[in-house]
Amino acid sequence: MKDNASLEILLRIINQCYELEKKLATSPEAKSLNRNLKRIKTGFEELGLFMEVPIGESYDETRTDCEASIAGEGVENLFIREVIKPIIYQERDGIKQIVQRGVVIAEAN
């Protein structure tokens, strides 16, 4: 990555890919587009950028890979119910580093 500005642009594009992925998941008729989306994601992976969608995973305050809004009443046994923005890692020399923390909504089970 040349500089922070180009990384930021790439992150914006990855976020849009995630938006597309969410929309495609609810429209089975657009299933064939998944392949194109997968290709785009592969392209980003070749650039060392990996997207993680932590939906359904458990959440607590030790998870600094996400910024959470906690909905509902409880704060124990939280699970990630919605992912507004995915977690994005950048891999360099085999070591991963978070470049975008996920933005999620967590709620007690």
Binding site: R39, E61, R63
Partner: protein, 827 residues
């Protein structure tokens, strides 16, 4: 000097350092933000400060505390049910300060700091802030008023002494949750706050909420059926509470977008009370947003005006209004304040860090009177640490334990993962501690283990980094013994070449998707073929010298329509830990997918491809023999002729075989073919490498000449330097392809630079015009030459460049590529 400045804010805090005339605002090592939410949580025996505590702020009211700065210096204290004890606002603030110390990446442990306070703080509140600093290990605390700090940030940025000899201005500070305005005056070099106003409950967060309540909820009520939507959203028990949180986040994004655009879209889905799915697409315009926040902004202006009225100050007597706080990024805030107050707006400083930056500048001028204490190591403290954990794991989390002997009683510990995804929080040390550390899948996970003393200073230990490998790096993962390559067409060399897919020593399992293009049209129903050929062996070798490990061969008869040259093929290669190879090929144009799985114990040889390869080798040999004879290298020529004879015999054998031949013959021939290919390679390799290296040095001389005699841009010079830096490495690869790539790079760069020079363009044009007889289309050539002369007359160099490109396309060598037939069909 003190050098460290801290903005201890109501909503957010930050820390900066003055160093040799410049100020650095430190970033949180977790999340890399420059600010830390001033929120503290006590949960499950640990202390959490910042972002993670803020997330819990509205939920766990008995253990999470924010906004305590407002209570600084009062007798009010906060009961912490988790600890069954009370903590004062100063004690909570000290935890924020200790956390800020962790932002300092320079390894320093400051014992003195400048800490900012609101202009409204009285002596008791100021002393409470000092106390907070001392509790956080700052022996010497110098207080500085926030508006003064912001003004200092501006003064140091502008570096204009005249501007700060005499004068007065307003500091307008609108943050996320609070608003302050102060009248600052400088007389004879002394800066002071004359008056101030503020609202502790007004800020940018209110604007997001307004957008949800006044624009989005009414919209939803219009398009769907909702009962008490407002209540159902805002109540934690409400059925739309989760949607409310989502909308707050989206509204914040819209707010930021509207700083640069006239309108922003907000898109979300939900289901209404009647079970109807609502796909909401709401456009919010800048004017709508501005109308929404106008009453709030006008209130801030009234407070500012009140200060001026109270002090009998004419607007014309003010130099400017200095904008501070994240919400002053909103263009409407700036324009409205400027318009209404009729005073110029000053937006020359970064509003989010101005206070910390100003504090650091001030700290750079204050003498450090604290007694610097030498850092004590764990041994001096009398602490022995022993750790135990698995260094490789297939689990999602791994057990870590540490035992302590000696004076551990007042210490705390914290474990963080280096990618920024995990933070245990600050926990009191015990004789033995244990943690389950969450691991990133298929990665090498590095954790830092920190121990802190009661003042928040780190105690050095010899524990070092905790490294745990998960998944593929574990003991089960084996390295690849050889490169795995894909064979692709290379028109430049008139043959095929290898492209690296997985490098030698990469750890299995591996997966990669490549997008290649079809290099020749394959007609539907024809017998032409496209071959995806995967080979094992050095990428620098000839394809025929490497071991084929799998292929997919697609015939024209299998195609649903013509596969045109230039269309894409997606090739996915997957190699398992036991080295099973799965190749998937997807032809985008025909929407057809092919898959083949190969196991290393089986060999896969395509008779068709084998024949093609043998013919290519014979073809290549012919040229090599000719060259060797020209160079009077008769010994090599004779050896090559022997190989050719053997190859011709193999061709006859293969021709007699069917594609589905089930005998071992094709494997034996394949083996022999490889041996012969290696023989050809070793007989001719040196010659080729030497030749291409000579070409390289010629190309390098050319580009250096171009750089000296033409006018390259700075970035072009950088581009070349970058490439030349790697010269040693790519020459050492002895890969003809790699060196050719660099030669091409030099040629392209040189062409780009030279063709900016009209003189050069004229010369090239004259050269092309002199070769009119060789054009493939002489009539077209003649027309282009005429047009070229016109362009010269008009001094239209871009047009001339275009004609030069068109003319060169008419020369025979430009069409040479299309003459090449054979190969794999992909490139």
């Amino acid at each position: 000097m003190i050098n460290f400045g801290i903005d201890l804010g109501t909503t957010n805090s930050s820390i900066a350092k003055f160093d040799k005339g410049r100020v650095e605002v430190f970033k949180n090592p977790i999340g890399l933000k420059e600010s830390l939410p001033s929120v503290v949580a006590f949960r499950k025996g640990k202390i959490i400060v910042g972002e993670k505590a803020r997330e819990l702020l509205l939920k766990a009211t008995d253990s999470v505390f924010g906004g305590f700065k407002r209570k600084m210096g009062t007798s009010e204290s906060y009961y912490i049910s988790e600890l069954d004890e009370k903590k004062s606002p100063a004690e909570l603030s000290s935890l924020v300060l200790k956390e800020l110390k962790n932002f300092i990446h320079t390894g320093e442990k400051p014992t003195s700091a400048v800490i900012t306070i609101p202009a409204s703080f009285d002596t008791i509140q100021s002393n409470a802030t000092k106390q907070a600093g001392q509790l956080a290990g700052f022996e010497q605390v110098v207080l500085l008023q926030e508006p003064i700090a912001a003004s200092l940030a501006y003064a140091n940025k502008e570096d204009d002494e005249a501007l700060f000899k005499e004068g007065q201005w307003l500091v307008y500070d609108l943050g996320g949750g609070t608003f302050d305005v102060a009248l600052v005056q400088i007389r004879e070099g002394e800066m002071k706050v004359l008056d101030h106003e503020g609202d502790n409950f007004l800020g940018g967060n209110d604007f997001d909420q307004l957008m949800v309540e006044q624009l989005i909820i009414p919209y939803l009520e219009k398009v769907g059926t909702f009962n008490k939507l407002h209540t159902e959203m805002k109540s934690a028990k409400g059925r739309y509470n989760r949607l409310y949180h989502r909308l707050r986040l989206l509204a914040e994004e819209v707010k930021m977008q509207l700083s640069g655009k006239e309108e922003a879209e907000l898109e979300f889905e939900t289901i209404d009370d009647a079970g109807k799915e609502i796909e909401a697409l709401l456009t919010i315009s800048k004017s709508q947003f501005e109308a929404l926040i106008q009453p709030q902004i006008d209130r801030t202006i009234e407070m500012s005006q009140a200060i001026l009225d109270r002090n009998g100050i004419e607007k014309t007597a003010l130099s400017y209004v200095l904008m501070v706080g994240g919400s002053t990024y909103i263009p409407f805030v700036r324009s409205r304040v400027g318009e209404k107050l009729e005073v110029p707006i000053n937006t020359n400083i970064d509003p989010t860090t101005a206070v910390a930056v100003g504090a650091a500048f001030y700290a750079g001028s204050q003498r450090d009177k604290s007694k610097k204490q030498a850092e004590k190591s764990s041994e001096e403290i009398g602490l022995q640490v022993k750790t135990a954990y698995q260094k490789a794991s297939q689990e999602e989390e791994e057990y870590f334990t540490a035992k302590f002997e000696g004076a551990w009683q007042t210490l705390s510990y914290r474990i963080t993962r280096q990618d920024g995804g995990y933070d245990s929080g600050l926990k009191p040390l015990k004789a033995q501690i244990s943690e389950y550390l969450p691991l990133l899948k298929d990665s090498f996970n590095l954790f830092d283990f920190h121990i802190y003393d009661i003042l928040g200073n780190e105690v050095p230990t010899d524990v070092g980094e905790i490294g745990i490998t998960q998944g593929r790096y574990s003991v089960a993962g084996q390295p690849l013994p050889n490169d795995i390559c894909l064979e692709v067409d290379n028109f430049e060399l008139g043959s095929t070449a290898l492209e690296l897919v997985f490098p030698k020593n990469a750890i299995l399992p591996l997966k990669k998707t490549l997008t290649k293009h079809v290099t020749r049209t394959i007609a539907k129903g024809s017998s032409q073929r496209l071959t995806i050929h995967v080979l094992e062996g050095p990428v620098s070798a000839l394809p025929a010298a490497n071991q084929p490990i799998g292929y997919i061969s697609i015939s024209g008869t299998e195609l649903q329509r013509d596969l045109l040259k230039g269309s894409d093929i997606e090739v996915e290669l997957e190699m398992s830990e036991s080295r099973d190879l799965k190749i998937t090929a997807y032809l985008l144009m025909t929407d057809q997918e092919y898959e083949n799985v190969f196991t290393p114990s089986e060999r896969h040889v395509s008779v068709h491809r084998l024949l093609e390869e043998l013919e290519m080798l014979v073809d290549k040999l012919g040229k090599e023999v000719e060259e060797a004879q020209e160079l009077e290298n008769y010994e090599t020529a004779r050896e090559l002729l022997d190989v050719e004879q053997n190859l011709l015999e193999l061709i006859d054998q293969v021709k007699a075989m069917s594609e589905d031949d089930v005998t071992d013959d094709k494997f034996q021939i394949e083996d022999q073919k490889r041996k012969f290919a290696i023989q050809i390679d070793s007989l001719t390799r040196e010659k080729h490498i030497t030749k291409v290296k000579m070409e390289y040095f010629d190309a390098k001389r050319d580009i250096e000449y171009t750089m000296q005699h033409y006018s390259p841009t700075e970035s072009e010079e950088r581009e070349l330097q970058r490439m030349l830096k790697q010269e040693k490495e790519f020459l050492a690869t002895n890969s003809r392809l790699r060196i050719k790539e660099i030669i091409d790079f030099f040629a392209d760069l040189g062409w780009r630079i030279r063709t900016r020079d009209p003189q050069y363009l004229r010369m090239i044009f004259a050269y092309l015009a002199s070769r009119q007889d060789e054009f493939s289309n002489p009539q077209r050539g003649g027309e282009l030459i005429d047009q070229g002369y016109d362009a010269i007359d008009d001094e239209d160099w871009d047009r001339l460049k275009l004609h030069i490109n068109q003319l060169s396309g008419l020369l025979p060598n430009a069409v040479r590529n299309d003459m090449f037939r054979g190969g794999t069909g992909i490139g």
